[in-house]
Every structure is written in C-alpha cells, then in structure tokens.
Assembly symmetry: C2
Homo-oligomer: 214 residues x 2
C-alpha cells in the first residue's frame, strides 16, 4: 500500500478529530475513548461507571462495533443516550464515524461522553477521535506480557484499567511485572486495578474520573 | 481511502498466498493459521500441540507479533524450528510476510507448520496466508457474545477452539449459547473445548489435527 495514501488518511482523521474536540469544548462535554481487546470488559466498565457516576454527571455513550447492537441494547436499560456505530468490517473507530454519530446525540444534555471502541488492542490506538482522555483495559485473563506485544496502545493511553482482578491466582498473571513494564514504557500512565464483576476497586476509578470530567 | 488501492492489496496478497500454498504442497507441509484476540492462548495452544504431537510430526512455528520475541523465546525451548516476524505496527500477518519468513525455514524437515497470527479478532481474518487450515481461539474470559460482534473471524474459520474452559463458572459464560450462535453462522465449523492450563480436552484436538495434517 502506498504510504502517501495512509498519510492522507491519518491527516484527514486528525483534522476531523480536531473539529470533534472543538465541538466537545463548546458544549462542555468531556469525551473518553475506551479501548481494549474483545471481551476485556469495556461494556461492563461503562455499566459500572454509569452506576457510580450517573447521579453526579449526565452520561452518554457511543458504541462502536463491527456488527450487532448487543452492547447498546445492554446500555439502553440504564436510561442514557446511546448511539450505535456499526463499522461494517472496519477494525477501529475513526473521527469521521464519531462526527456522524454526534448528529444523533444532544451534547447540550451531557457532561461525559464515553466512546466504546471496537474490540482490538492494535488499530484503535492509531486513530484519534477528538477525545479528552484515552483509556485502555487489560483483562487479567489476557496475561501480563501484553505491553511488549502491543506497545502503541500501552504507550499512548493515559489510563490503564486492569480488569477481572477476581481472576488473579487462577493463572500465572503477575500484576507487579505488568505494572513495572507499563511504567517503563509510559511513566505518566495512571493504573487502576478493579473487577467489574465484584465491584472491587471500581469506586476509586469512578471518583478519579469524576474529578477529571467535572 | 481509495477502494481500488485496497482491492490491489488484497489481489496481491491472494497471489502470494497461492504461491505459498504451492510451496507447502511441494514440500508436503500442512500449514495452519492460528488466530485469536491477545491473550486468548495462542502460544499456549502451540505449546500443548507440540507436546502432544511432537513425537508424531515434525513441527515448525512462525510467530507473528507487532513487536517483541516473547513468544518465540518461549517456543525455542521446545527444540523446534521457530521464526519470529515483527510486523512493526501492522495488525495482521499477510502472505508476503510469510513468504519472507519461509526463507529462514527448512520446509523439507517439517510435516506441520503452525503460523501464530497477531493477536487480533478482526484484521487477520481478511488476509489468507496460503494455509491449509484456519483455526481461531476464543477464551472463555472473552465472553460468549463475541461471534455477533466479530462475525468474519467466526464465519471464516474451519476450527474454533474454546480455551480456558477451567474458567467456566467464574463468570456468566454460556457454552451452549456460544455453540448455537457459531453453528448458525458457520454450520461446517468444528468446535473443540479445552484448557491449555489443565490439559483437559487437549488430546481430542491433538488427535484431530494429527488426522488432518498427516
């Protein structure tokens, strides 16, 4: 593939991302891009975050999936604004998809917009959406050696959430080794350890996000 | 991005994949493309497969990663031919990467070549490598709702291995629902349920692969 074509794609994306960012600023909406592998717990974290913050902040969600509306159906029950994007095969969200989704969202009625990216630890890291905060999840079940193998996502996220900590001890997951590796690659990253299933550790994350987003 | 450019990329890939396939046939090597999310257990399955089949078949591995040689270091201890591909950012292997890696492998000394793709449930499904068999892994920790969200991988694989079955019961994973969904999408798919950690179910997979590959 011609490199110039790719550069053109990235340039166009950056431009639209900047426009999205401006739109969020005008409406005083804090936008968060949530990225992770399939099944790491993105939708579960959003549910936990809404339960913990929903009384303090007005929250909306953009759901990104290749196909299906499984996740947005789950979230609609929580009584929030949800828009589903189906990428139709594309392995990540891009700024233009967000711009189109924003036509279906009333930003004036929101404080916090959570964008759930396509489940993929690689490609989403390359496409800025106009977000204020880039959050990634790693599930304990994925193993502590992932930062070395998927470096861009770990070095480019501002927050790492280690989810499914209730599974620690079931395998050979080494939390200290994970923390050390990630901090070497990205010294400024903030790390939370929690379990959406048991709710352990969720409060600390929710309180931190409230401080950032409000 | 211009659609024509993408079509050109896919056409070129198909052509090189056919050449790889011919090379495998000439050397009587059975090639298997192994795909899954990060941390689903690709390298663990390869280790289990080598332990179960290594006395019956001569096995080699091509390790695909964006960065690092963590996995090939793991496998070298098993005394087999291993070649590491670092894609340098790319989110999948393609046929040309395999062609280049084959220059470092003695195919005449192999019966089975296992190609571990980049950890990604999306993009690897789109690029044929010249393989005889397409195998995907889903970890129980990822959840049973993944086929609807990542349809191409599930509909295009000939084998689904459900790994980490020792975690069933820790969450709300529904094996029967998974099986029903996948069989609807891909009636011809063969499904194995196993745990690389406890070795339960591995023998059935290994025996099946032996029949196919020998």
């Amino acid at each position: 593939m011609d490199i110039k074509v790719l550069e053109g794609v990235f340039d166009a994306n950056e431009k639209i991302a900047a426009e999205n960012r401006e739109l969020f600023r005008e409406n005083e909406v804090f936008a968060m891009n949530l990225m992770a592998s399939p099944g790491a717990g993105k939708t579960s974290l959003i549910e936990s975050t809404i339960k913990g913050l929903g009384k303090r902040l007005r929250i909306g969600v953009i759901e990104g999936d290749i196909a299906s509306s499984v996740d947005s159906e789950r979230l609609k029950n929580l009584g929030i604004q949800v828009v589903q994007i189906n990428t139709g095969g594309a392995c990540h969200l891009d700024a233009n998809m967000i711009r189109q989704a924003l036509e279906y969202i009333d930003l004036t009625a929101l404080d916090l917009l959570i964008i759930e990216n396509v489940g993929n630890l690689v490609c989403p890291a390359e496409f800025k959406l106009g977000e204020d905060l880039r959050v990634m999840i790693l599930s304990v079940a994925e193993g502590h050696d992932k930062p070395l193998k998927y470096p861009l996502m770990f070095s480019d996220s501002e927050v790492l959430i280690v989810n499914k900590t209730d599974l620690i001890g079931m395998g050979d997951f080494d939390l200290e080794e994970l923390r050390a590796t990630v901090k070497r690659m990205n010294p400024g990253i903030t790390i939370f350890e929690l379990s959406c299933r048991t709710a352990q550790g969720v409060e600390r994350w929710v309180d931190w996000l409230y401080e950032r987003a409000s």
